[in-house]
Symmetry: C2
Subunit: 388 residues, 2 copies
């Protein structure tokens, strides 16, 4: 096991009816909140009213900042920063999923900075101060509700970059699984793909050279639960326990637990997918189910043992040969993605195969920023060949 | 899944050579530390020198408070409180295992209170303030390094009671697995028993009425890793990865993760064991390996399904009948305790069977304080019959 520091102070308030507690949580940190949300789904789902009532009861004033889209834009975060400053808010409240939370995090850090927030994302500046961020989660996938990361796309250049800082990690997050009742089958599936990908990228790319029985078993535990819960949620969208298991597993899957002790991990699949969704506005999860199995097939040629390990331990593959076992595991994962109707090829995702070079050109720049030096344009093209 | 709040802000600094970082961590909270430790094993193991060097380098003054014994005493904590006040310390640093950490926690809360610390343990007072607690862990078992609980025995009455407060939860804990190299085979085994018992009590006593696939799988993941790592550590005490897996699993096993969402859990096995170790000064883990299988056998008669679940899912029992499967699982657990040379009966633990009534008299009072109302003297006697 590699040395590590694990520190995750986010307070999770989980369960039925917990949204009513957001006002009191916000009030611990301030009296004037910027309420960041998306395209209005929180209004139809009833979350909006619950949040407003709770804020009012707690005596919290708020300024609304709606309109955050998926694959959130830097320009939108800049608008939020201007508003937060003008309105002199002391808290940023995200009501939404990863896109909304990441926008809120960017606003929280940007408001306290004397430079453009993009500098955080290209590592020319570090976050030194931030407004406190609180969350009412409405979509499980990113685990941004319990981690220090944010991802933003720069409009002008289609660059989808990320920043990490303990200062933007949410102070408290409310997770009421009932908010997922209205989540469409497609987004239920995409969320599952996203969560599975988070764990498998950590599982495959780490620099730990020995065995990692503890972390591996956590990955299997969370992944099995996510897959079961996704299937149950698709069969019955109002299955509370399925939504609850999904929600809590999704958070635990990417809050640092499964990678603590694994050394450095990389996110090449997310990196390549970021190019897909930056260029095509495809759903993030849909992009991942295209790239992940292809990347695994490409990568298994280099270190089949680890891919065979997943295949045997998780998928029950019986093949004695590592390469064959690995292939069987990848095939099972692809079949499962197919079974929940998430696309498993560029063509199924509506992405022209002829655009591979354009995608690779976009991704290779991100590879540099994400310190994935092995991912040259040629390598990315090669991986994309496996995603056809 | 039941509603829950999960908040665990302890910073874990894990790995080889990390003890050198304790000075800087203490310095974040103060400049004058009470250094609490045990009977001197930290001097022979080299930990003492590492801690002192680190404190000195960080410019932290310190007062030593050695001599904490296992099953720590209230009288000792009272002495510590007097010293902490006289020396005007602003931090309490525990260098040890559960007994030392729990004494440090009691001192931290007691120093800030205007009443006897025992009042926290009998719930006549709550903790309202405490000095910050930091930890250098030297023995894995209690998970006190990452949880808000402390257990203390009142000398005069042999009462072993506990308190919980977020205010006494360690701010930071240093976990260097190398400190376990010198741990004896007996205490390696007892630690494993303690950790397994923490998880199984949560697993069996919770008030969740539905399925709990996520929490169950975490229990299986941590328990399998602890058992494997204990065996490897017994075979080679300086197997770093085995000690590391043991240490981190032991912390995760009882830091709130496996019981979040499970409703209320009880600790009847720990309750009865506390009576054993209060009366006989038997090692805590040794007492647990006597009580746990007996309690499971007694309890499985009442709800065999859950015990059959563990037997099938974890131990691979094939019996179709729940009661038979449960018995097979319990038998396997007892065999495993035997294999690591932890006692599995009162007789093996050197406890006279004729003392059962005396033990039950001690335990029944604890049952009241721990809100285990079903555990009358008769019930406890009945359970003890299964521990012969």
């Amino acid at each position: 096991m590699q040395n590590f520091v694990f520190e995750n102070p986010t307070k999770i308030i989980f369960g039925k009816g917990t949204i009513a507690r957001i006002g009191a949580e916000v009030r611990r940190f301030g009296t004037r909140a910027l309420m960041v949300y998306g395209m209005g789904s929180i209004r139809t789902g009833g979350v909006y009213g619950q949040v407003l009532n709770s804020l009012k009861e707690a005596g919290v004033e708020f300024v609304e900042f709606p309109g955050v889209r998926s694959n959130p834009l830097l320009s939108k975060a800049r608008e939020g920063i201007a508003l937060a400053r003008a309105e002199k808010v002391d808290v940023v409240l995200a009501v939404g999923g990863g896109s909304v939370i990441d926008t809120a995090k960017t606003i929280a850090a940007g408001t306290k900075a004397d430079h453009d927030p993009w500098e955080f994302f290209v590592y020319t500046k570090t976050v030194k101060d931030a407004l406190p961020v609180l969350v009412v989660l409405t979509l499980s996938a990113s685990a941004s509700e319990m981690n220090p990361a944010a991802v933003i796309t720069k409009d002008e250049t289609c660059q989808k970059y990320s920043v990490r800082s303990p200062l933007i990690q949410p102070k408290a997050s409310i997770l009421d699984p009932q908010v997922l009742y209205t989540l469409s089958p497609a987004y239920t599936a995409y969320s599952a793909v996203d969560i599975v990908t988070h764990m498998l990228e950590g599982y495959f790319t780490n620099t730990e050279t020995g065995e990692s029985p503890l972390q591996d078993r956590m990955v299997y535990a969370f992944m099995r639960t996510i897959m079961e819960a996704a299937e149950k949620s698709l069969a019955d969208p109002r299955d509370y326990d399925a939504r609850a298991n999904f929600m809590w597993s999704g958070t635990l899957a990417f809050n640092g637990l499964t990678t603590a002790g694994m050394g450095i991990v990389g996110y090449p699949v997310h990196m390549m997918e970021h190019s897909l969704s930056a260029l095509y506005d495809i759903a993030h999860g849909a992009g991942l189910s295209i790239v992940l199995p292809g990347w695994m097939a490409w990568s298994a040629k280099r270190k089949p043992a680890r891919f065979a390990c997943l295949a045997r331990e998780f998928f029950g593959a019986a093949e004695a040969d590592d390469a064959k076992a690995a292939a069987a595991g990848i095939s099972q994962l692809r079949d499962w993605f197919r079974s929940i109707r998430s696309p498993v090829s560029l063509g199924e995702g509506g992405i022209p195969e002829g655009d591979m070079e354009k995608i690779a050109d976009n991704a290779v720049e991100l590879a540099r920023t994400w310190r994935l030096k092995d991912y040259t344009k040629e390598v990315i093209m090669e991986v994309l060949q496996h995603c056809r």
